[in-house]
Structure formats: structure tokens, C-alpha cells
């Protein structure tokens, strides 16, 4: 019979007036696969940091294998067999696979001289435990992310691992790697290692979890097996509200074709892409990572121009060889990675909002008019309901949802005809997701042509009127969403012809 490995009782933690965790009870059984879900701000990352020893709780008890521990410092954590793999994986791109896997153990052993045979042995032993076989001498920086993750897991296995915490592990993995990862997770379980999965991808959570704990506003709201939950109930627990899910409808078949793409191709990116977008439509482009969907978007936006094919905006062929040309043609792109691609974190909200449209804010002598700049920023802050007291604060101080609004707003300010949204609600809490979806629908209602790139099928089914399914660089199917079921789409996305 499995017994308890870790128990947290009545954990409280506050920072600078924010009460991040309020009396949270949490437990993980030995060898259990447990998922932790919650919006941004729910306290889940704080809880992880307390379990992994990075933070100390203000009050409450922690018991590891039945024994109370004063607090988990990072040394104590590792000694207890708890390891965390963060999203950034903590790997050394300039070192080999073998050295990456073995480094923690080697540092632990603390010898002055390096024994390369020992390193290779440690690495092979770890890989053998999860039946993975990577080339030991490759530099980790050259591996695709899926393999890098395996390296990180192997490193965790070099010590006496009892609980492995994975923080959003699948967010940048292509489907085959996700499957492999989930298989590895089950393998770990077979070895008696518990796995705590933090994820916002509900379909994966349901696939692999034995129990799901939901956090909301710093409190543990529920801990249930997946059988007792479905998407709606889970979202309801996470947000304390229910979301309405009226499907988006598009009826104006006479609306003008705003974007037409014919035979667009780029070697090793995508091939023979053709589709049309009418004003007022929201067309979802679904594809897993590695399907070419982002590459297509980057080609439409001029970042990585296509090699062949034609793009027409409102009937006129436009060469899109640079971002400047794309913007001039009326195309805007809201990128998937807000932190790196979407915003300049150090700069103010105003600076970020006005960055793409500086040439529209010119006054006398061709100089940017600060008054118009500030006015534009204020206008969009208001229109999108961006919660910020002062437009001059650095945008990094805003919450995820507000940051995403800034990214969207800055492109709306450019008055585009075609809006490409790439994963616009990733890393955004559920309520803000709903608000963003509603806003996009309003835009469509006013004539914007929207291309919504996402890998969350429910999001696409509800918010788009048409779905393009992309796989291995080509568009495979085009379906209307009327009466469409999520499962159907799922199968089409993953099917192999």
C-alpha cells in the first residue's frame, strides 16, 4: 500500500503584503502522479518553491516521509530526494550530455579531479533507468528541447529521487515528445518516484494525473481524481466562476476577402499553403509544435519571409519581405512569447504601446510628438482595460494578463486589417483569457480578419468559425466549426494519413 511521502499542513506565506498561500494543506503519496493547477497568482509557484526549499513558509508544518522537517533548504530538499525541473531546464548548453547529467552528482561527491569515465558511467546509469539513449558527447545546446528535457530528468535521477517536480514541462514540446515525456513519467512512477506536474494544459493533466489539486487565490480549493472532474468543472474551481461558452458565429459570406495566400512555401518550414480570410472571420490555425504554424505566421509577418508563393491583401499582391512591409500592408502579429518577442520588459507601458506606430505620431520637423504619444497610450490603456496606474511604469511590473493586453493593444494601435494572434492566452489566467477572447470577437464583429494560432483545441472550437489544421508543414484540413466536437478535431490533428 502506498504511503505518504510529503505532507504540507496549514502553510502560510506572504510577501510585501501579498498573502500568497493561506493555510494550504497538500500531500503527495509515494509514487503518485499528482497535478497542480491554478491560474497565475493562485500561489502554485509559491507552493512549488516551498516544496523545493527555495522559500520558507511563514507558518505551517512540513513532513517528509512522516518526519517533520524544520524547513526545507535546498540542500535538505535534495537530501530528501526532492528535485525540481524548472521551465528553463537549468542545463549547460556548452557542456556535453554526459557532463550535464552527471554534474550535480559530481559536485555532490566533491572531488577535486574530474574522472571522465565516472561521468559517463553516471550518465549511462541515469539514462538506463528511463530507457533513454542519448549521444553522450553531444553538446546539450544542440539538442531539441524534447531531448534537453530528458537530459534534465536524467540529471534528477542521478540522486536518490523520490519526488520530481516538473514545472510546465510540455509548453514547448511537439506532440511526440510530449507522449514520450508522459511515458517517462509513468516509468518513474513504476520506480516508486512521485511526480508533481504543474501544468495549465488541461488535456495532459487529465491524461496522466492520479489526483489533481486546484489552487485559487492562495487556497487549496479541491483535490480530486480526474474521473470526478471535467474541463468546465475544473475551470470553475480554478476561477470560482463559470465561463459562458457561446460559439463564435460568422454569417456574412459576402464579406470581402481580406487576406489570400496561394502556394506559400519555404523549405524546411512549410509547403504549398493556400487559404483565404474574410473580414469579420476568426480562423483558427491549429497545429502542434513542429507543424509549421508559427513559421507560417512569421512568413506572413515578414520576420522569416517565404521563398515562393503569393500573399494578397484586399486583392492586391504584396511582397512581405520584412516586418515593415507586412505592417504597411496591414498585417499585425501578436507573438507567442510575450517576454522575449512581445514586450521590452524594462521599458514603460507607453513605450511598448507606441513602439510599432512611431511613424504615425510624427509632428513638426518629423519628430515624434510626445503629447500625441501619451494620448495614444492612454487611449488604448482605456480601450483594452489595461490595469495600470501610470503608463510610465516598466511593463514588467504588470500581471500576465495585462501584459498580454499591452501586446495586443500595441498592434491594434497600428490599425491593421489582419490580426494574427499566436497563442494569445498562454500563461494568462482564465478570467483574462475570457476577456481577451471576447475582445477578439468584438474586433471581428467590427470587420477585422483574425487568424488565431493555438494548440488549445477547445479555444479554437469555441472562438473561431473555421479551423485550418496544419501538420508537418502543410494544411491538411479545413473545417467549419458549426456543430464541431473537440474530440473530432483532436483526432484530425494527431492523425497520420
Amino acid at each position: 500500500m502506498a504511503h505518504e511521502f510529503l505532507r504540507l499542513e496549514k502553510i502560510h506565506k506572504s510577501f510585501a503584503g501579498v498573502h500568497a498561500l493561506r493555510g494550504v494543506d497538500f500531500s503527495i503519496q509515494q509514487g503518485e502522479i499528482h497535478c497542480l493547477v491554478g491560474e497565475n497568482g493562485s500561489g502554485k509557484s509559491t507552493l512549488i518553491k516551498i516544496i523545493s526549499g527555495v522559500l520558507h513558509p511563514d507558518s505551517g508544518r512540513i513532513l517528509v516521509e512522516g518526519r517533520a522537517v524544520a524547513s526545507l533548504g535546498s540542500a535538505a530538499t535534495m537530501a530528501s530526494g526532492i528535485q525540481v525541473i524548472y521551465q528553463d531546464l537549468s542545463l549547460f548548453p556548452n557542456l556535453t550530455v554526459a557532463e550535464n547529467i552527471a554534474i550535480a552528482e559530481v559536485k555532490e561527491r566533491g572531488r577535486a579531479l574530474v574522472n571522465w569515465k565516472e561521468i559517463r558511467d553516471i550518465a549511462r546509469a541515469a539514462m538506463a533507468r528511463i530507457q533513454v539513449d542519448l549521444d553522450l558527447e553531444v553538446e546539450v545546446g544542440e539538442l531539441p528541447i524534447g531531448k534537453q528535457q530528458l537530459v534534465a530528468i536524467c540529471r534528477a535521477l542521478t540522486s536518490e529521487l523520490k519526488l520530481l517536480i516538473l514545472d510546465e514541462p510540455t509548453s514547448s514540446l511537439p506532440k511526440p515528445d510530449i507522449d514520450h515525456l508522459l511515458a517517462v513519467v509513468r516509468d518513474l512512477q513504476a520506480h516508486g518516484i512521485a511526480v508533481l506536474f504543474v501544468s495549465h494544459k488541461l488535456n495532459e493533466v487529465f491524461e496522466v494525473a492520479e489526483r489533481i489539486t486546484v489552487l485559487r487565490d492562495g487556497e487549496r480549493v479541491a483535490t480530486l481524481p480526474p474521473g470526478e472532474l471535467d474541463d468546465d468543472r475544473l475551470v470553475g474551481l480554478m476561477t470560482g466562476r463559470t465561463l459562458s461558452r457561446t460559439p463564435f458565429a460568422f454569417r456574412d459570406t459576402a464579406a470581402p476577402i481580406v487576406l489570400e495566400v496561394r502556394g506559400l512555401s519555404k523549405p524546411n518550414n512549410f509547403e504549398d499553403i493556400s487559404f483565404q480570410l474574410r473580414a469579420g472571420e476568426i480562423v483558427a490555425l491549429i497545429g502542434l509544435i513542429g507543424s509549421g504554424r508559427t513559421e507560417l505566421a512569421l512568413a506572413l509577418f515578414g520576420i522569416s519571409p517565404a521563398a515562393r508563393g503569393e500573399i494578397r491583401v484586399e486583392g492586391n499582391p504584396v511582397p512581405v519581405r520584412s516586418v515593415q512591409e507586412a505592417v504597411a500592408a496591414g498585417i499585425a502579429y501578436v507573438p507567442e512569447n510575450r517576454l522575449v518577442q512581445g514586450l521590452v520588459m524594462k521599458h514603460s507601458v507607453e513605450e511598448n504601446l507606441t513602439a510599432p506606430v512611431l511613424d504615425k505620431l510624427l509632428g513638426r520637423l518629423g519628430l515624434v510628438d510626445p503629447v500625441r504619444k501619451a494620448a495614444l497610450a492612454r487611449e488604448w490603456i482605456q480601450t483594452l482595460g489595461i490595469k495600470v496606474a501610470d503608463p510610465a511604469v516598466p511593463v514588467q511590473t504588470l500581471s500576465g494578463g495585462n501584459q498580454q493586453r499591452v501586446v495586443i493593444a500595441k498592434w491594434l494601435a497600428a490599425d491593421p486589417r489582419i490580426l494574427i494572434l499566436d497563442g494569445p492566452t498562454v500563461g494568462v489566467d482564465v478570467m483574462a483569457k475570457g476577456a481577451i477572447h471576447q475582445y477578439v470577437r468584438d474586433l471581428a464583429a467590427r470587420g477585422m480578419a483574425v487568424l488565431l494560432i493555438t494548440d488549445e483545441i477547445p479555444e479554437a472550437v469555441v472562438n473561431a468559425n473555421r479551423i485550418l489544421i496544419m501538420r508537418a508543414g502543410r494544411i491538411r484540413r479545413e473545417i467549419d466549426t458549426v456543430g464541431l466536437q473537440v474530440e473530432e478535431v483532436q483526432q484530425l490533428v494527431e492523425a497520420r494519413t
Partner: protein, 347 residues
Amino acid sequence: MSPRPVPAHPGRGVLPDLLRHNETYLAVLIVVLCAAITLANPAFLTYENITGFLKSYAMLGIMAVGALFVLVLSGSPDVSFTAIAQVVEYAVVVAAMRLGGNIFLALLFAAVLGMALGLVNGAIVHWFRVPTIIVTIATFNIYFGMLYVVTHGKLINSVPTLFRTFGNALILSRVSRIGATYGLSLMTLVWLVTAALGWFILARTSLGRSVFAIGGNEVAAERVGVAMLRTRLFVFGLVGFLSGVAAVVHVSIVQSVVPNIIVGKELDVIAAVVLGGASVFGGKGTILGSVLGVLLFAILNNGLTLLNFSSYWYNVTIGVVITVAITISAVQQLRRQRARVHVNVEP
């Protein structure tokens, strides 16, 4: 093994592997250069000539070993090591003049003093979290400025015999027709020994691997338990240590102390190390590359002299070499990025 499509990735054969490393290109370039110069002036490929330039570049070679460590650690170069060498050179000569002693004591003194000056850099870089280049610009100014304040820029024209003996020491010597003795200088051996030591530390010791770890991913290094302060202090202390040794080597060769002769060569040393494959982003570099880089500069300089070009052409030549090298390296990098397969398009 998960059934994944094979990524388009350079194979692991020997030739493609070799071609990815700067050292290969450097080695080829050196061979080509040697051939070209010898054709123009056969005096190049003589034992006397080669041991000659290997001796005169020993100081830069020793300092390059230290410079490599710093570049691997963080990519931001140390520019104070020439000032450290300058200070130590003065100090060790004055100490020898006043206290006597032998070459081993002199080396010990110089190395320890240099190490102390280097440790200051290490401490500041660790605690204030500022790029090394900025901290070392500051310490450069402090060390060099104070040296002049104390010495008033006075030259020392005759140094104690122990330095002269050290500098003139040869192994495998021969006597030329006119009676001059030449051979492999002990200074060159010191360079090779420090290079070997540097290689050993980087490849075979935990501290050395920690340097690579911090250079590759500073945050991860801390997480896996790398001793951050100790590693940083070690690197900068080593730079100082080697600068001290280089100072003794230098004064033994030129047999005088001119307080501003070493200073100004920092960027040459850094350029040599970068040519050898060290990355300005940190985490990459080899001792072999640094040795080859310095060797390349030595050969270029010697070649210019033998071919009767005035010394003014030295900078231009080095500048061209650096420009070509960094351009090729950057273009290769761009090509590699573009060749990366994003999507395996189904036919």
C-alpha cells in the same frame, strides 16, 4: 530510443567535427603562413628564428592562458592583467634589487602579488554583479595610476643578474657560425608549462569544469551546487598569478623595466584568444586555441620583419586577420542557424 525523425545535424564524423573548431582553421592558416613566409625568406624556417619568436611571445602566451579563463567564465574580458603585470614587474625587480634572492623566490613573489591584485577583481565582479570589462577598466586605472604615482615613471635600466640568467637560459642550444648561442628558451618552456597547467585545470579539475558551467549558464551553475565565489576568485586569482609570472618572464627577456611597455597589449591578447575559439558570450574556448592564436600573431610579426615590412604594418595585418576571422565565424554561425530544420515537411 524514441522514434523521432533524424534531425538535420552535422554528422559526428571526424572531418565535420574538425571543421567546426577554430583550432583547425588556425592550424591550417599557420601552416600556410609558414610556407608562404619561408618561400619569400628562407630564414624563417630556421631553428634560430623560430626559437627567437617563441621566446619573445612567451609573455603574451602566458597572459593568454589567463585571459582564456576569464572569457570562458563570462565572455566579458579582463583588461587589467597588463596593468597587474606592469605593477608586479616593477615590484619584483625592486624587491630583487633590495633583498637579493633567486629566480624561484622572484617567481613566487611575483605570482603571489599578481594573484592578490587579481583576487580584488574577482571579489568585485562576484559581489557587484557588473560585467568584468567594466570592473577591470576601473582596476586597470587604479593599478596603473598608482604605479606611476609611486615610481614617477622611472625606468630601471639594469636589472639584477638573476633575471638576466633566467632570461638567457636555453635548452637544446647550438652555436651559430658567428659564435652566438641560440636554442629553445626557458621562457618558452614556462609558456608551455603554464599552458599545459591551464589545459589540465580546465579539462581535468572540478574547478575548471565549474568555470565552463558558470560560463554556460550562471543560474543553473548556482542551482547544481557550483561554488560561485570560489570559482570566480580562482579565475581572477589565476589571471593575476599568470600575469605575475609573465612579468618575470618579460623582465628577464628585455632586461629592463619600462613602466608602460606591457600596458596596451590587452586587446592583442584578447584578440588572440578569441581567434583561438573563445566566445564573447562565455562558456567556450580551449587552451590549444589560445596557444595557436598567440602563435599566429608571433608568426605574423616575425614574417613582417623578415619580409622587411616596417613594424607599422603589424597592426594592419592583425586587424585584417581579426576582421576576416570574426566575419567567417559569424557567417558560419548565421548559416548554421538558417540551416536548422524547423519543420519536417511531409512530401
